[in-house]
Symmetry: D2
Subunit: 326 residues, 4 copies
């Protein structure tokens, strides 16, 4: 096998803080090994349309600390069809791209798995970038640590208002199928209760929980993952208002701020290490794998094992949150 | 007139960052002048119920930097009745309180104006605490500067996502009758357009505005004050989605985080200066006035002139925002 | 007089947060009026060397929130000579530049005043960018508000450690000839004392001040402007350690972090308004003036009146700080 | 063995962010199990002097997000003598304290080991609180994650200035015998080089490193741990200025801000989990151990194995930093 001469790099799916740090690591590692890097803009869409440009050491200067992705990102319906993937493949060949480094989450890895099955002559490595932390193959995904800090900073502010007014706040955080953000941030802000999609949330258990607390604790926070079944923070809020009309209950949806912000130190370090690992893996002949960090070691996990999974909800976390908020 | 021996201090209405810094200033200034300070909890409610406690120099240690209000706040329906105000007056007399320092916004000042008309033997000074910056008698109200910084930090994060995805974001900020927050933050984040309640917002003008921009400018921010007529950010979002279905349009309601957070330096300084001024004014025989800062000088404005007003919308601001976002 | 067709824009002296927001405003206002903008890099040095490039609307995208200056800055010994200024003039003429917008502080304005006297055919407007807030002609300079918030965030952190250890901290902030940063931040963090260059600081008065406080107040902050006479925070620290050996005294020099950071909302708004005003002033025939904001109105002040001055120290500020920290 | 009825809790050594979150967890867990908690103020000093007070659920309200330690901390020469430890023991017995939870770093654990050897009837568990992350028995210590984020936020600001002026900055961070803070933050800010105490730093290697970079890379950061041998950031700065007089070189000592600040989400979660674990361990009969987290599992390590160690310097980290900063 002759050495790889040109790598295509792209970000796909929702953006997450640390993507730029990973882009920097991929580009500079490739340059270090005399491999060219072609930046593909807007994910699969740019791959299909040939929106591709060479990147150098300098083009990734001063981005390690920036949120978002300088390569832009997106979703592509076309790439879900084999015709679309054929167009993408042709563009890559036309541009002399022999390998891909894909930065994204579950959807990105799924797309790459299909593409890799159809076009095995393109080597592919993925780097897990998503605030949801819902992939197998890495203890943490890039962006998760930043997102949970963004959440607790926002809830710290909300709590000041809650305490000044003796209010109960229902705070909705991201995590369509995953309670990972809600669990750690709920513990981090000292919430009374956490509602996550992985467990069958029982509204009556929540009512009990809210009544069990100290009489003199007049402000409370309930943390809800957006995917939780009873129906989102607004429905939970409505149920509480009916059950406890004397509470001053408010709902807050944190929304899109959770994807932005300067990456934390841990996310920058994770992105740097995994970006380096992905390029070195390609150089050594790997393909069809995601680079992750498990117990502080670099680990490569095949795509079909790294896709999204429902975490076992950490029962220990729920137990601690309830014990400590009494 | 014999010198005032005891001042009652309370916060009322919505909380705003800097209230604690103002509390500290009032308490320590009073102690400096050998005046006792009685802290009244939960605003008018605590005044009626006699939820009152003496405060000293030490009780306000280490609060200058905290959001919210250590005295808690609230609204009281009872105080709106003359019977309720009579109860409050009796409690004040019972506690030996000869003067009041009221920290709050428009509703607080209105309440104090009525109370002062009925019970002129209690001297009253108000300190303007509201994030809305909608009072006459002070260039800025305490909390406004913090709130606008909280907003731009949130929108800076949203913009990173907007740019990565080429999205249009409609961001709703606080200001039920006032565009003050929307105006400065809209300029601060480089928004394409600002919709404020003071002007008749024209949805067609907004459509024009969005089309007039550069073709290559793919992400946009529209800042909406919650009180704007067309009907809130969601309705504006819906109208845009119908008119420009090819835009990737999202709505974000910033909500309660806007009231929290550590006060900025300017808000701490303003709160300190006005807290001092309010106590010294009482000492010098003032009553029925709000202490404010106009052109960096302390100014006292009678309650009936300091209540909320519709600002002349600063047309210059709108002009600049539109020119600079092209 | 025929209309100006091309403006040269540069930043000079120490950088300050908000310079980029001002650059954006100047460039887009000029584009709006069909005036070309040539960006001059590294201040006077780039003017002499012809390090000049055309800028457009897009080149200032996404910089409003960034610290530093995209045009880079610096000082130039050569420009202080008439030979150097002649070289600069020739470069400007060669590039077709008919007017200059200068972003900087006292040194920048002084340089422009000399240059303007020698070459009156180049119209010049200055925009006050310095964290020191030491210019006449504007209530605030661009960068000051950000710097004072950076300082109080740092001191809030130091105070947590001070309180946990019952320590006295001497904190040195920037301001070689000006106590403006020390004064407002000292009030903002609740310091025990503030030492500024404008007044003859008396170390014995400081000793008295430190002893006068409450016995149970175990942690203290003294804020020192770097230019204060007794000789910097280290010397003051040494004097205190000798006088009060039982205190746990530490010195902290905040240093260069004070020039960085995302500009606050007020700095972005100030930079946007003054950037617009400077270009419109040039268009209307002004020259040799600094655009400033006094009492919220745009004001133009001739260079010879806008240079640095020793502020009257606000005695009111010192009085309040001492009263409130008891 | 009869169940423990009263636990003594204290913080000792340098403060670290997250100590308050750990205090909250210890107190509330004890209350949950009907164990009394006596808060001992100022560490060993308060233990000797009997500065001890009962704590309840409410006394730890609203502290999870605060830096510093509400119990105050300190060092005690007296406790290093057996006479001092005897006094401490007598105070504990007098107060009916049967077990201790110690929050601190290496010095605290060493002190507890000696004390435990002498007075085995007091059960002792330690929780690792130090920003240095230099203890065996836990992947991370409480405060480390916050400290590294404080550092990168400060250096992000310094870098803006460095870039605007084309400067080289030598930044000194904490870590008297440990390069843990320098390593991760150096990678996080994209430093050119990192100098840590664990390796024999070679100033000539640093010179080489600085020359090897791109010619067009005009601003550089060198991260130095305070314990590095060549003699601190100032000496390194001086050596560079001599060798490369054409560089614009500056030194910045970050200092005490590194110990302060709101704890990050990870530090709050770690503190909560380890605080719970320490109390439950005491309940189950453990003593003489530190509660830590290894690979996300709670692990108990005997004191003599958990004391400070010189980390194997992660050569991988140094390699990545150098490769990525080219």
């Amino acid at each position: 096998m002759s050495p790889i001469k040109k790598i295509g790099l792209f970000t796909s799916g929702s953006d997450s803080p640390g993507m730029n740090a990973a882009i920097r690591a991929v580009v500079r590692t490739a340059v270090f090994y005399d491999i060219e890097v072609a930046g593909i803009r807007r994910g699969f869409e740019g791959m299909i349309n040939g929106d591709i440009e060479l990147m150098g050491t300098k083009s990734v200067s001063n981005i390690i600390q920036r949120g978002g992705t300088m390569l832009k990102t997106g979703r592509s319906e076309q790439f879900k069809t084999s015709a679309g993937r054929k167009l993408a493949y042709d563009q890559l060949k036309k541009n002399g791209i022999e390998a891909l480094v894909a930065l994204g989450g579950n959807g990105t890895i799924k797309g790459m798995r299909e593409f890799g099955d159809e076009y095995p002559d393109i080597a592919i490595m993925a780097v897990p970038c998503t605030i949801d932390n819902d992939l197998r193959g890495s203890d943490f995904t890039i962006g998760y640590d930043t997102a949970i800090n963004t959440v607790i900073e926002a809830v710290d502010k909300i709590r000041e208002t809650a305490e000044s007014h003796d209010r109960l706040f229902i705070v909705e955080v991201m995590g369509r199928d995953s309670g990972m953000i809600a669990l750690r941030t709920g513990m981090g802000v000292g919430a009374e209760a956490i509602m996550v999609p992985e467990t069958k949330s029982d509204i009556n258990a929540l009512f009990d929980r809210l009544q069990r607390g100290r009489k003199d604790k007049t402000s409370k926070i309930v943390m809800v993952a957006e995917g939780d079944e009873p129906g989102g923070a607004f429905e939970i809020g409505r149920a509480i208002m009916e059950k406890f009309p004397h509470y001053d209950t408010r709902v807050s949806i944190l929304g899109h701020i959770q994807r932005g912000g300067k990456p934390t130190c841990m996310d920058r370090v994770l992105a740097s290490r995994l970006g380096v690992a992905a390029v070195e893996a390609i150089k050594e002949g790997h393909t069809g794998e995601m680079a992750g960090l498990i117990h502080n070691d670099i680990v490569f996990t095949p795509f079909d094992q790294s896709v999204k999974h429902h975490n076992d909800v950490n029962a220990e976390f729920i137990r601690i949150v309830e014990m400590l908020s009494l």
